[in-house]
């Protein structure tokens, strides 16, 4: 017995995951009337020897899948799912040292009805004590999945190719939890598109409605108008969200005395840049699978942050210079002063700053707009998708305009009171704020890249 115990220490990995591992994969596909599970059990050399199939392979596969079915548990809204074995197959594969490994594939399915958001849980307790890789994925087909605890793609190519670098551990995922909702769109919508984050979750319902409209069987004119309206609202909401440096523009406009013309320039620039950005990124993502959307978004974020920070620095310089003694109340025309050009008004420089700010604000495509565009393209309604994206940008511009106007009113009111004392510093404060937000955005975007 000592010899046997000692043997354990000597075994080296012949199977990529150790030659007595039993590896499990469950690929869940949620459809509107059923949930399917492709359950694969990849047994290494030793377990294959330990449990040799009895009888013909088909019979053995049936029996093994029935056993596996007993160990798989699923619930929809707390009610247990009734799994059925649809298909079973068993095959040997050549392993190390002239031995064999085996692969059992079971297709299970259980009826559900996704006619409202449905919380699904899944657990696989088959051979729970055995050492091995355990992986679960989930996608939706004809339904949308959200808040899924598992990814949509297998990282081992369904137990065919195990990643084995030094800095990864075999996954041990035995349970999954997700919500399935009625709605069309491509498979695994939420998981497939880069950069879907908190913001989309906030505006999730709206975006879902929009997706539902775009994906409708027949696109009538009222429906189309509704979709455009929805994207307008979505864009407006998106611009009101924190981040992406859009809010800072309002502050900037307020600092610049809030000229309506400047505000309009910003709005137009934002709309143009954003639309162009979304279109280009959408095109890239569709054409080449190799473009990692996350990375592109990250770099755009860095560029946009740097641009804002640069503008902030320029503003700060000019503001500080204009705050020399005797110039204390020179705020209203202090901007261009002493900025190389030396023109009394400095309008040329200011105008370029406004455009740059607009570009910075629109540079990072919003994920939800991207989702809408990709959804429309997948359905062959590309032109309509582009229209919605344009509306989206217009919505963003509207929010910015409104914010600028409100701030302007607010500033007039505030300055009338005690805050009048701060008046000489507003330019400095605005500039500092712009600079800080720019830095913040850059740092955050960098963080996603590292």
């Amino acid at each position: 017995m000592i010899a046997a115990a000692a043997l354990a220490g000597v075994v080296l990995a012949a199977h990529p995951l150790g030659n007595f591992s039993v590896n499990h994969y469950d690929g869940l596909t949620v459809r509107h009337d059923r949930i399917e599970d492709v359950a694969i059990v990849d047994s290494a050399e030793i377990p294959t020897l330990q449990d040799p199939p009895t009888g013909p392979a088909e019979l053995h596969a049936r029996r093994a899948c029935e056993e596996l079915r007993g160990d798989v548990a699923g619930q929809a809204e707390g009610r247990a799912l009734a799994w059925r074995v649809e298909e079973a197959s068993f095959a040997y594969r050549p392993g190390a040292a002239g031995l064999r490994t085996s692969r059992l594939t079971c297709r299970l399915s259980a009826p559900i009805r996704v006619d409202r958001p449905l919380t699904l849980t899944f657990a696989n307790a088959h051979r729970a004590d055995a050492v091995g890789w355990r992986e679960i994925t989930a996608i939706g087909s004809g339904v949308r999945l959200r808040d899924s605890s598992v990814p949509s793609r297998s990282m081992s190519d369904e137990l065919r190719d195990y990643p084995s670098d030094l800095l990864s551990s075999p996954p041990d995922v035995r349970q999954a939890r997700l919500t399935a909702e009625p709605g069309s769109g491509e498979r695994g919508t939420a998981a497939g598109v880069p950069g879907v984050d908190v913001i989309t979750r906030y505006t999730g319902t709206l975006a879902d409605r929009l997706n539902a409209v775009i994906g409708a069987e027949r696109l009538t004119i009222p429906l189309g108008l509704l979709a455009l309206l929805l994207s307008l609202v979505l864009g407006a909401v998106h611009a009101a969200m924190p981040g992406h440096g859009k809010t800072v523009m309002a502050a900037y406009l307020a600092g610049r005395d809030g000229r309506l013309r400047d505000a309009c320039t910003v709005a137009a620039t934002v709309t143009l840049t954003h639309t162009a950005g979304v279109l280009v990124l959408g095109l890239l993502v569709t054409i080449t699978a190799s473009v990692a959307g996350e990375v592109v978004l990250g770099w755009l974020g860095v560029v946009s942050g740097l641009l804002i920070a640069l503008i902030g620095t320029a503003l700060l310089c000019s503001a500080l210079r204009s705050r020399k003694p005797g110039h204390g109340h020179g705020h209203s025309h202090g901007h261009g002063h002493g900025h190389g050009h030396g023109h009394g008004h400095g309008h040329g420089h200011g105008h370029r700053g406004v455009v740059a700010l607009g570009v910075a604000g629109g540079l990072v495509p919003s994920p939800s707009a991207l989702v809408v565009l990709l959804g429309a393209m997948a359905l062959g309604r590309t032109a309509f998708g582009v229209m919605t994206v344009v509306c989206y940008g217009l919505g963003m511009a509207a929010t910015l305009l409104a914010a600028a106007l409100v701030l302007r009113r607010f500033r007039d009111l505030a300055l009338a009171g005690r805050l009048r004392r701060l008046r000489p510093y507003t330019a400095t404060m605005t500039a500092a704020l712009v600079l800080l937000v720019g830095t913040g955005i850059t740092v955050r975007a960098m963080a996603t890249l590292i």
Partner: protein, 442 residues
Amino acid sequence: MTHVRRLLPLLSCLLLGCTLLTLFAPGGVLRRDDGPPPRVEGRPKGWSPYELSEYIEDAQEHLRHHPDDAATWASLGGVYLEQARRSADVTYYGKAQGAFERSLRLPADDGGPNIDAVIGMGALANAKHDFTGGLRWAEQARNAAPYRWALYGVLTDAYLELGDYERAQSALRRMLQGRPDLASFTRAARMEHLHGRTGPARTALERAREIAGDPAEYAFVLWQLGELAWSGGDPRAALGFYEQALAADRTHAPSLAGRARAEAALGRTGQALRGYAAAVARSPSFVVEYGELLEHLGDRAGARRQYTVFSGQLKLLAANGINDDLAYGRFEADHGDPDTAVRHLRAEWARRQSVEVADALAWALHRAGHDTEAAGYAARAARLGGRDALFAYHRGEIERALGHTGAARAQLTLALSINPHFSPDGAARARAALARLESDAT
């Protein structure tokens, strides 16, 4: 005062800026460069299995950003090794080796190789039964850093397996003086047991039990206590220890097998078989033992299946360039061809002269009919004065074959008095042989 008033807006700007920065730079950014994760020296202590995997994740993340951190590579290797030991998942041996080698390629602060990686390579070599290699690495570490206590554990293990008990003793003494901890106490217990001093062995394990830091360590110590009780012929006490070990860590495969063995001794055959099935599913190390019980119970087909698994296991090892001649020889002597067993065990004896190899070679020689030579090796197996029922039984059978009735009777009686349940088949045969000797005498 005006000064303050003038500074106020700037201060508020600063404050606002700080707030914004905190908001815009979420925890992840700041946490990422917090410096290296806590180091683990040699064998990590006081980690629960959960913390172990948590540590692994932290170290992996750290190394992704700092791939040149030799110390963290070494400690990650150490934790991979520990993970392999705990989970019996051999994937981690390859990972451990890779991590140690990465660490060795990077120069340490003093220009030499990273000492923890050197010690780790030694521990890995021992785990892979390359005890000469283990010894080499440990000596290299001792020359460079004689106060790194973990190296004496590697040194002790290597000497013990190579059969150099004097040097093992002095390395162990060094370790106990330097750092009396779980690693040194469990090794001390093994040393005492090899010399037949059951009482001190138990004391050492009881001390280890007091300082066991987490469920996995506790299970390991309790399992050792169970093995001690079992080899002393007390299956009931052993069962108690195994149960406690499994209460701490229900996946501890050696304890699963131990419990099954004790249950078989107590006559609970059904539970024993179920227990063995669970143990071999968790780790294939116990297939021969399981097969022997099945064979004893008359299930020859079931036994054969387990033996097939054992052969498959050996083939896999051979494919990896490792030949575990001790295990192979023992198996062949009992269930295969004794001549093959002798050949393999002679080769093993040329490499290492431990009491285990001596006993196995003696038994194989006896099975192959070379009893005179066998007696010499059986005496060598008993040279430390250890109390091992199986060794005594083997020696008794050899003496009996040589016609030394008195010595045979003494050895067989000794075997049964040490542990009347030492093996399902062996104990029965010992009793039968003893009865025949008695009847011959009268």
